[in-house]
Amino acid sequence: MNDFTKYLAGRVTAGGLSRREFMGRAMTAGMTLTAASHLFAISAAAQTPKKGGHIKLGLEGGAATDSIDPAKATSQVMFCAVRTWGDTLVETHPETRAPIPSLAESWSPSPDAVVWTFKIRKGVQFHDGKEMTTDDVVATLKRHSDEKAESGALGVMKSIKSIENKGGDLVVTLESGNADLPQIFTDYHLVIQPNGGVDDPTAGVGTGPYKVTSFQPGVRMTFERHANDWRSDRGFADTVEFITMNDGTARVAALSSGQVHYINRVDPKTVALLKRAPNVEILTTSGGGHYVFIMHCDTAPFDNNDLRLALKYAINREEMVQRILGGYGKVGNDFPINDTYALFPEGIEQRQYDPDKAAFHYKKSGHSGSILLRTSEVAFPGAVDASALFQQSAKKAGIDIEIRREPGDGYWTNVWNKQPFSASYWGSRATQDQFYSGAYLSTADWNDTRFKRPDFDKLLIAARSELDEAKRKDMYRQMAIMVRDEGGVILPMFNDYVNASTKQVKGYVNDIGNDMSNGYVATRIWLDA
């Protein structure tokens, strides 16, 4: 049984997949008819999803300033909301993050990966009763490519030259080849809206399993199941309710008293206590988000690679994962990719805390005096404590780090990406290419380490249009090693997504794509009576 059929079987067990869909997909993946039907029977018997009920989610990350326009969805709550009422063309596999069909049934690139043809699913209905057409898809993608829409997806849409409807198929032509175009279309901003949402971007009408019934920004949002939904493996509860709860203690209290079924962002420091509550289940998923200390490679004293290496050896990663993440995370290796990305280059040596090596490189750099590190509580949860730990571990190598605590308000405007050495965080991106293009390409707006290497840029562009996976993976390995050994990022840890539900909740899928089951939590879970 390969990974994909394993995953399909898992979704049958989780209640996600009908027999017909399962058989179809399993057999395309190379299973025989009998094997497939046998596997379906076993998996289906394990657990059948229960329909009905009212699911309540208590979510951090909403504000009165939230907008229901998917182009402007930035908060955690709106991310999850968009995933609940809308569908993207492509989804990602929860375990491998490979692209899998959603509103696009299949796709094929030209040999240079410049022109892509997507077959659009037929018979899909919007919440307002209209049938979704390829024109709606084209209009949606065009709206997000337009600068006036101020879409959060504008960055990933920049490389698109034209978007056309050719005989019912979506044909996308790129400026230059990109093997990751399907993954770009998994971006949550890009949910398909009637006529692209041009007429009424805030209507909240899509093709998702739930339709929006009320929305009060920063307070509450309610949904009801879309009766004519095109799939049967999602959307089990009759109604769903999101309550914005920005206070961590309030979320935990609401969950442990059974007033909500699911909460996000459980503080790692309190997980051990929450575990004791009899009716609570802790849900952790590895993710590609990470916490960093960033150095500007073009500013003294950080323009010296020995000094950068000294600081990289002077940080105690294991200690940080334990003390800052409460163990809910993985150590980082000074490049921004981990095994939650497709084509992750395995086997690169893990950098350890080594005061001797740190001292060696520090001496070689010829630097003397203290090094100023700017930090703030908003840089990442526990950033101030993490900076203090860094200061202590560096002291043992004879490096003197001076910490300056900056006000949280305005940190992203005045400190991050401005000052040469500061604490920060990054969320996960859909692909390695997206991450490196956004933050490590010489010309990237968010190149917050001022990492500017023509050979790296060349590799990145070449890897982008490479359709041969083995060759591509090797290129990503070379790039990872460049960033690890010469870049300006000190990456001590990748944080897990830590959420929690009541024991009544079944069918939760640990999706490495993003937090909250990649935003699909409300559509994937059901309530066991």
């Binding site: 920004p217 609401a254 442990s256 920060s424």
Partner: protein
């Protein structure tokens, strides 16, 4: 009687003498307009002085120079500060508070909803807290320096000494989590029945009552006690009135002015100062709304909230002064 300006001032004097209360109210209203204007300038200047403008803070870590420029030119943030302020003021004078920059919804509509919620919570908290505080204050005067007085003092002082979020968490822990008898979170929304709303706000109301009780109770006690030593109270006692009756009928009415002032102050606090309680109980009131707006420098919303908060303070203070005058016959009928 010959020159008009004299007549005017003479009539003005007469008007003032004949209707001292009305004159005071008009004077106060005019003054509060000036105050509101000053407040709006202060808030505008304050938000301007914060690091970063709406475009950069709203986009946060994902701001690119192009996106920032787009938002700035769309909202006219590239114009001078003074122009923008008078633009905004022009709208407000015509009753238009504009639209929120972040959500693009009408500010008046959103504020209306949130203000309703805040007033609902504050109203019920006041309905319980004010009579309770004054009653307890009179009770502790009656039993002054005896056991009931001490108990009332200790409990109310303990409640005011604990931070409000801590009281909130304690109430949630016991009544929502452990005993499961109270509703939590206290989120209220459109279409919720009145009874459900009352249930939802039970815990935040209790928290607020505990927080404001001591201040009003102590002031009632102090104000009445200072009256108790007057000669007429001695007379009341000598003519054989019961202690309780003397307090309620003779002492309390004469101690009203300071009590009214403290009550007004606490009412204002209940409306504008409860953002922590709102966060803890997930209650959608004005405080949280304003904080969200300040975080992204959403100026139209910040301004609208600031003006409403200022107006509430000014109105309640004016009301307190007027009531104090009405409560005092010497002020009510000046010579």
């Amino acid at each position: 009687m010959s020159s008009p300006p004299e007549t005017g001032s003479l009539q003005g004097l007469k008007f003032r003498e004949r209707f001292p209360l009305l004159a005071l109210i008009i004077e106060r209203l005019l003054l509060s307009l000036v105050l509101l204007l000053a407040v709006s300038v202060l808030i505008f200047g304050g938000v301007e002085a914060l690091p970063g403008d709406f475009a950069t803070t709203y986009l946060g870590q994902s701001a690119t120079p192009q996106a920032v420029a787009n938002i700035r030119s769309e909202l006219g943030l590239d114009r001078p500060v003074v122009t923008r302020y008078f633009d905004w003021l022009g709208g407000v004078v015509q009753g238009d508070f504009g639209t929120s920059w972040a959500s693009r919804n009408s500010v008046s509509e959103q504020v209306g909803n949130r203000l309703g919620n805040s007033l609902f919570l504050a109203g019920f908290a006041a309905l319980i807290a004010v009579p309770l505080a004054i009653g307890l204050g009179m009770l502790s005067v009656h039993y002054r320096n005896r056991m009931p007085d001490r108990i009332i003092n200790i409990i109310s002082l303990a409640a005011i000494s604990l931070p409000e979020f801590f009281i909130g968490y304690l109430l949630i822990l016991y009544f929502a989590v452990n005993f499961g008898i109270a509703t939590f979170p206290a989120t209220v929304f459109d279409g919720m029945s009145f009874m459900d709303r009352l249930k939802a706000i039970a815990l935040p109301t209790a928290t607020l009552v505990l927080v404001v009780l001591a201040h009003m109770m102590r002031m009632t006690r102090a104000a009445i006690l200072s009256v108790m030593s007057s000669a007429y109270m001695e007379t009341a006692e000598l003519k054989g009135l019961s202690g309780w009756r003397a307090i309620v009928k003779h002492a309390a009415p004469n101690a009203l002015a300071p009590i009214i002032n403290v009550v007004a102050l606490n009412l204002a606090y209940l409306v504008v100062g409860v953002v922590v309680v709102e966060v803890v109980f997930v209650y959608p009131g004005m405080g949280q709304y304003m904080v969200d707006a300040v975080t992204v420098r959403d100026m139209p919303v910040v301004q609208a909230c600031g003006l409403i908060f200022a107006a509430v303070y000014i109105f309640l203070n004016m009301l307190a002064d007027i009531l104090a005058i009405i409560a005092n016959p010497r002020l009510r009928h000046p010579r």
